[in-house]
Symmetry: D2
Subunit: 284 residues, 4 copies
């Protein structure tokens, strides 16, 4: 049995669902999931389809070639095609905060996340002990203003060496350069500790405390050249009140950060996220 997940977007057109499902049907595919969305304002069609193929000799590569030939030009269609049984390979970037790291490694160890985690990179040595506990290679690459370019080159070399599919900034406290970002478009997920676009930038819990908000949040998003402005994948909130200090905000926020980052990674690695412009379509 083989299984394909297709993510598609193109200008909306009558009959497109019929045509694509027909294409899969002709190849003996069994559609086990189909969700589509039409952005009526922009007239864009989005679809996610999971299909199973159990005949001998079925080839994903052939399917993809035929799919391209039939649709890409004619429908001005953009697609992503995934082997649904392949486990994406993650690199976790961390600094000194350990709560997201413990959370992700706990989920990984529990079998909750269908991924491989062959690499943890940090600009500080502090969390090597956490990596060791979970027996995951830990690479300490110090970053200073002077050495940033070299450090990023070293990071990228490690990422390529380990065939990384997704970079997760799990409270990594360095800004990634535009060059770095450009090489991994929609492949870097960050967790920001505020309800974006409120409290962009550093120290959002302090800013939220100053403003006297009654709810704080966390936001996971793809990293783009504009800091904290990338496409949002997931957000969650929790209530606070006057009895809570900044420290309480930070402590309550930890749970938000863990959950929001984990949900975003899960959606990404299950190929449920389609980025369009600066927004995301999140299929269920």
């Amino acid at each position: 049995m083989q299984k394909i997940t297709l993510l598609i977007n193109c200008p909306d057109r009558k009959g497109i669902v019929t045509t694509i499902t027909q294409f899969i049907l002709e190849r003996q595919g069994n559609i086990v999931y189909l969700d589509q969305h039409v952005d009526r304002q922009e007239s864009i069609f989005f679809m996610r389809v999971e299909s199973e193929f159990d005949q001998e000799g079925f080839s994903i590569a052939d399917f993809e070639m035929q799919f391209i030939a039939q649709f890409v030009d004619d429908y001005q269609l953009t697609y992503q095609l995934f082997d649904a049984y392949y486990k994406p390979r993650l690199a976790l970037f961390v600094s000194k905060y350990d709560h997201c790291l413990y959370d992700l490694l706990g989920r990984y160890a529990s079998g909750e996340l269908p991924v491989e985690i062959p690499l943890i990179i940090s600009n500080h040595p502090d969390l090597e002990i956490v990596a060791k506990r979970f027996e995951i290679p830990f690479k300490h690459i110090a970053v200073t203003k002077a050495t940033k370019a070299e450090a990023e080159a070293e990071q990228i070399a490690a990422i390529k060496e380990h065939k990384i599919d997704l970079i997760v900034l799990a409270r990594y406290m360095q800004i990634i350069s535009d060059d770095f970002v450009a090489q991994f478009k929609n492949k870097i997920i960050n967790i920001h500790h505020s309800f974006l676009p409120a409290f962009i930038g550093a120290k959002p819990y302090h800013a939220a405390f100053e403003r006297g908000v009654k709810i704080i949040g966390a936001t996971s998003h793809y990293v783009t050249a504009d800091l904290d402005e990338g496409p949002i994948i997931e957000q969650e909130i929790v209530r606070v009140s006057h009895v809570h200090s900044v420290q309480d905000f930070i402590l309550k926020g930890r749970d938000l950060e863990k959950i929001v980052l984990a949900r975003a990674i899960k959606a990404h690695v299950e190929h449920k996220v389609l980025v369009f412009g600066n927004k995301t379509v999140i299929f269920s």
Copy 2:
């Protein structure tokens, strides 16, 4: 321009999305919404499709006849077909609590609910003043143990006279007889003031207070012969604490009841609810 909403369920079968969308396409339909769901455990296919037809002479009746001919037997398919521009006609049943009534009439007056409300029925005269304020006919039908059968007959006569499509029990404090329920299957929506199945029956806020819960809820559901056991449409919750009395629970619960009932009505009249067994599929 005409617009049809189709709700479908049938045993799952390869190619069914293709076949149905093809059928609509052949009649020059423009599919503006499609959502499907497969219950993998039971192998049941569910779909909701909205299509627009702008050619002269298009007839919904003809469409339906052809649809029946092609699908109903062959696919063991159950369907509901609605003229999307028709406004469902609601009868509101109330007793003495006025908050849900005020809420629904406010939404109706604001144009928020795409319905007609030609009839309010109550077993008490108290809320006639509310009906008058919104200029809606109010029918007081007293109900006692002795007169229950007659009273229900009178209610049903009024419902038929006003061509009612949906009965809304907006904190109506009488149990509907099985005979009555049987005549309006999946056409009576109730609001229960607890997070079902917790606190079935009378005085759920008191029971919740006794149990010392930290969250209370409200549930809207279709009415079936089994009290508080019908298919759930919507639920919502709010946090409570030891500082809250039963009265506080009741007061906080009012907002839940209003919102949960309004959401359920909206989903129903927009044909987004498909009942299957004792559950609902709620399309987005």
Copy 3:
């Protein structure tokens, strides 16, 4: 039986709870509610106390004079003292959106809000029909750039004539002048249709849609000279997704606005809100 609600704040000092509760006790007061909060960072003490007095000849005015004499200078104490049985008088300011107005008047008619509403002011005539339904005086005062000063003078005259205690901007679409605001410090509550400080200013739902957020919110706050920057009283949120249009955001937001505004009014009129700097302490 008489009942007093006291709101107090002053620099924190050892023994202050003892001293104040002793003061009430000496006057045969029965403390039925006491909540205190210490802002440890700023070393400020906040307290809310409700006390009942059932002896003949007890005088709130005398109590207040003695309280001032004992505490205000010595403790650098700021206080508000309310007769808990007095019903605050509200003026509702509206424009064309009617959902918050219907919601507040429904709650008022249901007896849910312990207030009087002797006045509705609008810069448009459209909602007079709503006021009429609930038999509340409606004053249409048109506002243009040229007539703004006059219009506000007329508004203020009406507010004084009706002895208004709290002004509620129930989706009132005019900016209040600084002069007006200065006359009613912490006595004007606004509902802003975003999760402040995100999406300050006009068209927040459109801005939220553009940004692709996964959660939208509403915020009630006291009006200050800085637009949308006043002390926040209450916030609430609801999830949205890519399937929702701007219109859906607006529709979902209506329920948020209604609830958040109603909760803020309730907290204010029950004297549970203490403004300090640009923040609020909300007692339970």
Copy 4:
């Protein structure tokens, strides 16, 4: 500097706040937190006070003796007095599910929980690897019908040996005997994977799925002789829909269980929970 946390409840009486704060003041205590609650229906007074004492020679034991002498009989007062700097010692009971264990140990390793965890007990050997990773003693005590009494005796011996203050059932899949429970009244916290009192007993996610609920929850509570009926400490919920299978419920529920259990433990070890009857007062 020494710090005391007092939890008190007694029949309500005029002047009690004054008297107790006076008592602390007389011993040069600085009250840094005070929250009180009066159950008006039962006329019970509840209070939590944190006080700091920095004079030489201050003795918590003396304070307690004097407190008892002055209050316990006279006020029919029940109290708990804690040295706020002492770290409670936890025993974690687990079976095969590892998510709550990973979560708690991650929080512990992060310094998020002010506790010691000297002991993990399991009726299965599977999770020894998790204990090893965090370098915590793991005791495998098999439990069968035949050996239950012995097994519990062995558990209790280990608990006493390690001077355990709180037992946490972190998805421990055995029912604790009444005798065991009686020895640790309000000292055993369980996490139940439903929104109690809905879905008491085994397989709550399956039951929730069958009932077609739109929201699932988790509940932490003290263990009593009546299964799933003990005083509730914390509850949390998450929305589900028809697209979610039982497996999805279980997966979504894991995050609920982790958070709800962690919050309950935190509240307990910070002495913010006061059990009264079958309910809890949770101070902020």
